[in-house]
């Protein structure tokens, strides 16, 4: 795309945008995008649609279950930790996407978070990414045992689980929006297992 910075507002939406968005999605193999408010109802709906697609595609069971698990944690993390009302609309809505590239399914989330939580979150993500399979298992068990309910999620169980189930490192990025908030992007990659049944 030659002009990605051009802002498109609902009041002035060129018809070509439908095709442009379609192209961006096709080029990046993004087959599901949801932007807006996240609630448990939205989580259920997104899971329902995606699961139907995977069943229709005859996706191998283990891969399908792993994607489903990672999606649940990703969606519930957005729902629990996203902040709103501290920037303009285009940067404070949250987004969730599913893509497929090079034999990997990508579970992608983007949401605004408060700047002051970034150091702790970054430490957690780096720690998770430094661990191997057994290390993650140990961290998961310790966190589950030691965290209280108010901390679940905040203590990073969701992230640890996403790393465990996906079997790959978590990719993340923080982009500063203003003095209060940043946009937090996270990608979990689930490598497709070839089906042996068919």
């Amino acid at each position: 795309m030659e002009d990605t910075s051009r802002k498109i507002s609902a009041r002035n939406l060129p018809m070509s945008f439908v095709l442009e968005l379609h192209k961006v999605m096709e080029e990046n193999n993004i087959f599901m995008v949801y932007e807006g408010d996240f609630s448990q109802e939205v989580t259920k709906t997104v899971l329902h649609f995606t699961e139907r697609k995977f069943l229709a595609d005859n996706l191998e069971d283990t891969t399908r279950r792993k994607i489903f698990n990672v999606m649940v944690e990703s969606l519930q993390n957005i729902s629990k930790h996203s902040v709103s009302g501290l920037g303009d609309e285009s940067t404070t809505a949250s987004v969730f996407m599913i893509g497929y590239t090079n034999n990997n399914y990508l579970v992608i989330s983007g949401n605004p978070i408060l700047n002051h939580v970034i150091p702790k979150l970054k430490d957690m993500l780096d720690k998770i990414n430094s661990l191997d399979k057994d290390g993650l298992k140990q961290l998961y068990k310790e966190t589950r045992l030691n965290s209280t309910f108010s901390e679940v999620g905040g203590a990073g169980m969701g992230l640890i689980d996403m790393a465990r189930k996906s079997g790959n490192k978590l990719n993340y990025r923080f982009d500063k929006i203003n003095d209060k908030i940043s946009f937090y992007s996270l990608i979990a990659k689930i490598t497709k297992i070839e089906s042996t049944n068919n």
Partner: protein, 124 residues
Amino acid sequence: MVIILLEGTEDTPKVILDPENNIFEISGRSLPEDAVLFYQPLIDWLDELEKTPIDNMNFSFKLEYFNTASSKIILDILIKLQEIYEAGTSITVKWYNLENDEDMEEAGEEYSDLVDVPIELVKY
């Protein structure tokens, strides 16, 4: 004691807590955002059961998916069962997983390492 029967939904499991017939089962999907809200009544119910335990209790977990919030509270349920077990009631806990679901099997093994009530891993 009252019998608890909850139908499973898209994000909450089917629950049977039936002392009369010795059927205790949590099955299906457990993905509630607020796991405490869903499970607290069940924990309270088990607190009551502790006072009048039943012999050779059969407790089964047959879950398809569970989220991390549920994972924490499932441990609380197992700890509760461990307390009942340690007070002298025999309990059989069965943890079911599908033949090819290694993650669910591993979850059962991990719970088994954490609590002293015996957990039998069953493939189906």
